[in-house]
Every structure is written in structure tokens, then in C-alpha cells.
Point group: C2
Chain length 151, copies 2
Amino acid sequence: MYGLTGYKPDEYFMRLALNEAHKAFDMGEVPIGAVLVMHEKIITRAHNQVELLKDSTAHAEILALTAAYNVLGAKYLPDATLYITLEPCLMCCGAMYWSKLGRIVYGAADEKNGYKKYTVQNPFHPKTEIIQGTLAEECAMLMKDFFRLRR
Amino acid sequence: MYGLTGYKPDEYFMRLALNEAHKAFDMGEVPIGAVLVMHEKIITRAHNQVELLKDSTAHAEILALTAAYNVLGAKYLPDATLYITLEPCLMCCGAMYWSKLGRIVYGAADEKNGYKKYTVQNPFHPKTEIIQGTLAEECAMLMKDFFRLRR
């Protein structure tokens, strides 16, 4: 499938999320990408566009989710997996709670703005499975490169 | 000002947020409203449109904030006050963190979905002032009426 040997779906889709993050990087946006997948089909993909849209809610996750609601005409996504290059912030975490996503797969941890810094209990929907650390090093490296260039 | 005696700005604007919540109620949406104000001028107003838009991010607060970013061409709102009829959820709380709002004034507490249930420390921007309980009873009553009608 996908012409790859040793195909691992989570890594495959996380690499596409990383491609999205690279697009953000090239546009001077904090390099975070997201891909929303249902039954191994990509529904939406997005990258951070806070600067372009001058909208501090325009995180990759929010854009991928709202585009999916629009495409699917559904406000809940229990059959979908959202791939994100970085641990979500509190806003995106809350948006995912409401979405009732089946799975959330994220790459690098975010000690500064990640949801874990603020929350006491699992803030996601109880039926949502959370996988962390997929391609974490690559996801983290892209963030580091971005901020190093700006200092 | 506004032709009212005993004018209290927070109550005045919260009443407008309640008007927004009533619009949601009339459309079969959970009755939550928001008004964004700068220098005593209304910039945007919104009500919950989750059902209409089939978009579980379409909370009153998110709609009021994103419309304000659009109107003002700014992604931070340090001079603005956001009036909300209900304690914000985690998603909206996170969106307000990124907005760097000057003030947040909310009405009723929300023990089920409010941000306080999940957070350990102040999740808002450290410079944001939080006022709670403005017209709380009226805001809570509207929610109760809504859910009583649906049971």
C-alpha cells in the first residue's frame, strides 16, 4: 500500500503532517501541521496560518477540524484520526474534545504551550485514543530550526 | 450614556451578550452569547452556532474572536473586553489565552464543561483580568430553561 515496504500507517500520515509543517515553515509561520484521516483516506490537511490570517485561532488543528466539519457536514468525528506534529495547546485540545475524534496522534511534546502543562485530568473525550511520540524527533527538530533562525 | 441611569458598563454589555444568547435559544442552539467591546464600542457580537454550522468549534466566543481579528486585522486584543454569558470551555479558554484579551467578563458558572474543571493553574494570559458572575442568575436561568425544554 502506498508503494512502501514496511508501511506503518501512523508514520506515513505523520510524515504528511510534517510536510504541512514544512509549508508553514516556508511561510514564516510556526511550523506545525495536521492531517485528518478516515479509513486511511485523507479528508483534510492544514498548517498553522496565524500570521497569514492574523487570527490567533488559526492553528493547524483548528483549520483541519473545521475544514473536515465542512467537508463531511458532521460536527463529530468518531471515525477519524488527527495527526499533528506537536502536542496540542489548550484551545486545540478543547476543540478535539468537542470533535469526539477516534484517535489523536501527535509528534513532539510542547512543554511551553502544550495542554499537559495546564490540565489535571484527561481533557479529551473519554473514547478518544491518544498516541504520542510518532516521529517526535523530526517534528521537534523543525520547531527548533524555526526558532533558532529567529533569534 | 446609553440613556440609562445608574449605568454599569459590565451589566450593560452582559445584557447584550444575553440578547445574543436568546437568539441562539430561538434557533435551538445551546443559549450562549458573546460581545466583544473596545473603549465602550461593540466590535463584534455572536451566539453559539454549532448546530447551524455543523461545526463543534462554532462557540459564541470563537465566533466573536475570529470576527474581531478579521475586522481589526489584529491577532491580539489587549484593549478589548469579551463578555460571555457562560464560563468558557477549555477550547474557548485556550483561544482567549492566545488573544491576550484585556478583560474577560462572564456570567454563569459551568460545572460540566467550564475550564475550571480541567485546569490546575490560571490558563489565561497573565495580563488578562477575569470577572465572573455578572448577571449570573439570568445567564444560568436561560441555560436551565433550554435543557428543561429538551428533556
